[in-house]
């Protein structure tokens, strides 16, 4: 894409990745993504963040539409992950910047990624300021949001926060601003991004939001490294980050399962019926059709997580292991849950799932429920009652 002037003399100069679907190997990006870089033209010309190595030509084309890249004085690396720094070796060769600003941990990370100790690193820490001429850049280290090296850059004269991976969304679009696209799509994508990337660091998000309040930054634009730039719905996205990071559950339950001969699936549906009958909203996922990253946003908001698998080779089916492992790594807090599954003879899966849920700090509210081979009407009634019990536990924990 061509550059877009987002504020006077400040340009979006990134790349839209229309074809991306596999985001970093662990999450789906069903609507593609963008890699946002920002160019500030002042007495010193500064480029904030980059694009992956395979998008460097697009970045250069975009830069050349507004400037000769060799005129750039400063590179600011807010985050070393290769989708934001991968273009660095080529850009360094072309731009030959005077300085590369980064956090202390980012310097080590850049060296271990690109093996170039000779680049003109300039380490900055929280509270450090640099001058670009008319403008100042203030840095705030945001360790573990979501890598140890992560950092925000704030331009007070422009009220612009360049927020690295925080507040991002995976969306390829020709628009650049939050108010130019469908709002429910935008916030769904922001929620999915949070659930799949930021969730384990929720306690740090809470601290960060408090810190941003403390330093009293007057922000009228938040420019993340993925997706659209927030210029209109800033209070809403900050409120959402407050809500998501608090991890206050809603009156919702997620039931996910895999199945061999549809017995566990029939159990899942009867369990969902029981939960729904108590007045709790349910999302039901067969892991054969739902990717773990599509389930995660629903887990983030739900009070209950109910997981099922038939027993296969004395254990759970592989897709359950995938989902549970992924979920555990994202550290959702304050959940209740239970496990279920059909079996032929030994029947270990439901108990195994229950133990795994416990290891993920899910409070187990019902003994693992098992059905031998094919459920009878009586078995399905027991499944429904199992669901009702879970539903009542949700209601008890989530007041109206």
């Amino acid at each position: 894409m061509l550059p877009v002037e987002i504020k006077k003399d400040i340009f979006w100069v990134g790349s839209v990745d229309w074809n991306l679907r596999d985001f970093h190997g662990y999450s789906l990006a069903r609507r593609g993504t963008t890699y946002n870089a920002y160019l500030v033209k002042d007495e010193k010309i500064a480029l904030f963040d980059l694009v992956p190595a395979n998008h460097v030509d697009e970045l250069l084309r975009c830069l050349k539409a507004t400037i000769d890249p060799e005129q750039i004085d400063y590179l600011i690396v807010n985050h070393v992950e290769p989708d934001h720094s991968g273009a660095l070796p080529k850009i360094m060769d072309i731009v030959k910047p005077e300085k590369v600003f980064c956090s202390p941990i980012a310097k080590q990370a850049l060296i271990s990624h690109y093996h170039r100790e000779d680049w003109p690193y300039e380490v900055v820490a929280t509270g450090d300021n640099i001058s670009l001429g008319k403008r100042t850049v203030t840095f705030l280290e945001t360790k573990m949001l979501h890598w140890p090296d992560s950092m925000f850059s704030f331009l007070p004269e422009d009220k612009l926060l360049i927020s690295s991976d925080a507040f991002g969304q995976n969306l390829a679009s020709s628009e650049r601003f939050d108010d130019q696209v469908d709002q429910s799509l935008l916030f769904d994508l922001a929620a999915s991004y949070y659930a799949n990337i930021i969730l384990p660091f929720s306690p740090l998000v809470q601290k960060l939001l408090a810190k941003v309040g403390e330093v009293g930054w007057d922000i009228d634009m938040i420019a993340p490294d993925h997706g659209l730039i927030w210029r209109t719905h800033i209070p809403e996205i900050l409120a959402k980050y407050g809500e998501w990071s608090t991890q206050k559950p809603q009156r919702k339950a997620v039931v996910f399962y895999d199945t061999m001969w549809k017995s566990t699936e029939r159990m899942a549906r009867a369990i969902a019926d029981g939960i729904i009958a108590e007045g709790v909203s349910v999302q039901l996922f067969s892991l054969k059709t739902a990717h773990h990253s599509d389930v995660m946003p629903f887990i983030m908001e739900a009070q209950a997580v109910v997981a099922g698998s038939p027993t296969h080779n004395n254990g759970m089916l592989p897709l359950l292991a995938d989902m549970l492992t992924y979920m555990k790594g994202l550290k959702p807090q304050g959940k209740i849950g239970a496990a279920f599954g059909s079996y032929g003879w030994s029947g270990e899966a439901a108990k195994q799932i229950s133990e795994f849920l416990q290891s993920a700090k899910v409070e187990i509210v019902a003994e693992p429920l098992r059905v031998k081979n094919v459920p009878t009407d009586q078995d399905l009634a027991a499944c429904q009652e199992f669901g009702s019990k879970i539903g009542r536990e949700v209601i008890a924990r989530v007041p109206e």
Binding site: I105, K143, M144, P148, F201, P203, L204, K361
Partner: protein, 52 residues
């Protein structure tokens, strides 16, 4: 003595311990089992430095 995780900045305070990981309040940093990991970023014990 409090210890700080050099990766993420988490502070281990012996007064609080880390009960979620089975480290009781009152446990000095030295007495934490060697396989304990930072509750925020998962870094190992040798990534911690005394505060100050």
């Amino acid at each position: 003595m409090r210890y700080v995780c050099s990766i993420c900045g988490y502070v281990y305070d012996p007064a609080d311990g880390d009960p979620d990981s089975g480290v009781a309040a009152g446990t000095s940093f030295d007495d934490i089992p060697a396989d304990w990991a930072c509750p925020v970023c998962g870094a190992s014990k040798d990534n911690f430095e005394p505060e100050g």
